[in-house]
């Protein structure tokens, strides 16, 4: 029986790649493959879902018909370990953040990104095939000389979001809404490439010009300490600190509570390989305003308002238009629902397995 095992450097159950890996393992097993997850560093919440990468050869002897699907998103010594196993290797490429965004905030993180780019350039021409979350990611693989590629979107089970929200947070946010004011929401690591500073700038403009009672919630852990502190200083300096909430990492129930009480979702990121949170927002019928950069247009499609200019005044005007034009808002929410349907696991799951099996046959 053919085995397809997934390897990733860091396995966290609540990030998009971690959830994708778990979904893919289930699909592979359903399709008749033996499939496990191996990681270098496993978070506690998924400790029982993965094996240590170093144990692979003890569990899968060399005479088995096995493949490795390596999830690529950052430079890691794990890739060298995997290559040394002499097992047919394929990539699932989730993109590597451009180091330019991190050099002057967090040089150590930038160095890992550069190392990732170097590793990718070295390995891309020699892997059997590669899957990419988006056409944007696929283009990078093709440019690096990857011979066989296919787009297979990240697997998201949207039913997972139809769960009970955190009651305390939901009640608190609903009380705040009784006093009026638009609720802006953004979800994702607080990182320079995601440009949360542009959201804060646009929000400041919006409060001053359109809605002085508006609130902004930024959900996400910090990935560059100085950037995080600078964002807080920015909110202070612009006199909007009381209206901006930095939640840091939240539980799934808290995330659901925030989506259920948001009026508009903002994504002004300049570098994304896919971006799951915009689809989460669409799932919760929250209209999306996004900046058309990197893979964001691939994911948003026509399900959100894509801007080509993220000047604070333009972004503020976009949110105001959504607030004052219920018809546009309704149409955008409907378009968002269709977009979520497009990425539903009922569609993407079979596509993923078909791409994988076809490429495996062609590459054997």
């Amino acid at each position: 029986m053919t085995e397809v095992h997934q390897f990733l450097s860091t396995f966290a159950g609540r990030d998009a790649i971690g959830m994708h890996t778990i979904q893919l393992r289930a699909l592979l097993r359903e399709a008749g493959f033996v499939s496990d997850i191996y990681a270098l560093d496993t978070h506690d919440d998924v400790r029982h879902d993965a094996y240590a990468a170093a144990t692979f050869r003890n569990r899968v002897p060399a005479d088995r018909d096995a493949w490795i699907l390596y999830h690529f998103s950052i430079g890691s010594s794990l890739l060298d370990t995997v290559r040394a196993l002499d097992v047919p290797l394929a990539l699932d490429y989730h993109n590597i953040t451009d180091a330019r965004f991190f050099w002057r905030w967090e040089p150590r993180a930038a160095a890992r990104m550069l190392e990732g780019r170097r590793q990718l350039a070295e390995i891309a021409p020699s892997v059997r095939f590669a899957l990419a979350d988006s056409p944007f990611n696929e283009q990078e693989l093709v440019e690096l000389g990857c011979k066989r590629t296919a787009v297979a979107p990240i697997l998201v089970d949207f039913a997972h979001y139809d769960s009970t929200p955190d009651a305390t947070l939901l009640a608190r946010r609903r009380r705040a809404r009784e006093g009026g004011g638009t609720d802006w929401l953004a979800v994702g690591r607080i990182a320079p490439n995601k440009c949360q500073h542009d959201i804060v700038l646009a929000f400041a403009a919006y409060r001053r010009i359109h809605d002085p009672r508006a609130r902004l919630t930024l959900i996400g852990g910090q990935s560059a300490g100085e950037y995080w502190r600078s964002l807080h200083r920015l909110a202070d300096d612009l006199g909007i600190a009381d209206a901006v909430t930095f939640t840091d990492v939240v539980s799934h129930a808290e995330l659901v509570a925030c989506f259920r009480t948001a009026d508009v979702y903002l994504c002004l990121s300049e570098h994304e390989g896919f971006n799951v949170p915009v689809l989460e927002a669409m799932h919760f019928d929250v209209p999306v305003v996004a900046y058309a950069a990197a893979a964001v247009p691939d994911t948003v499609g026509d399900g959100g308002l894509l801007l080509t200019d993220k000047d604070p005044l333009v972004v503020a005007s976009a949110v105001e238009r959504l607030r004052s034009d219920p018809s546009l808002r309704t149409r955008l929410v409907d378009a968002g629902r269709r977009r979520v349907e497009h990425f539903s696991i009922a569609r993407t799951g079979p596509q993923m397995i078909e791409s994988l099996t076809t490429l495996m046959k062609e590459s054997s």
Binding site: R100, F101, W103, R104, W105, P192, C195, H197, D198, L201, A204, A205, R208, I209, Y227, R229, S230, L234, D237, L238, E270, D302, L305, L306, L307, T308, D309, D311, P312, L313, V314, A316, S317, A318, E320, R321, L328, R331, L332, D334, A335, R338
Partner: protein
């Protein structure tokens, strides 16, 4: 009566697709109109854009020496007052007490760091100036070499040389 397939095609069509380009153009026009209003908060928006520039410096190309120098200047604004925020009110109070107790020393260090920062920035400024002059000179020489090549190689060089003398 149309075939079943035709119904399927009709049903698959996106109902009333949103004219995204038109909406985007209307939003940008609305932004321009807002900026032209008499009550537009020009001073505040200037501050917003100015604050935004600080972030842009950090994501400039890594070989952008002017951006690097500007960032260095920006960073010379060393704050002697450490943040005292904490989820725990007691911890916040304790931090405030410590901050007050060591302020004279922290401020003394901060003053020297600011001076060092400005000195480093002035070195960077001078280096950037000289590098840009050298780059301009190299470009000029490259253009001259290219022009000589176009004229036919070594014999043209001789001709160019004689015309200059």
């Amino acid at each position: 009566m149309p075939a079943l397939a035709s119904y399927a095609v009709v049903n698959d069509r996106v109902p009333d697709p949103l004219p995204h380009d038109d909406v985007r153009a209307e939003i940008e026009a609305a932004a321009r109109e807002t900026a032209a209003r008499a009550d537009f908060p020009s001073a505040y928006m200037a501050q917003v854009r100015n604050e935004g520039e600080r972030f842009t410096l950090r994501t400039a190309d890594t070989d952008d020496i002017r951006a690097a120098v500007a960032l260095l200047e920006e960073q010379t604004n060393v704050h002697a007052l450490a943040p005292v925020d904490s989820r725990n009110r007691g911890v916040s109070t304790a931090k405030l007490v410590v901050r007050k107790a060591v302020f004279f020393a922290a401020n003394h260090l901060a003053e020297q760091m600011r001076a060092l920062g400005w000195a480093a920035a002035s070195v960077g400024e001078a280096a950037a100036e000289r590098i840009e002059q050298l780059e301009a000179r190299v470009r000029e020489l490259e253009a001259r070499v290219a022009s000589l090549d176009d004229r036919g190689g070594p014999s043209a060089t001789t001709s160019e040389g004689s015309s200059e003398s």
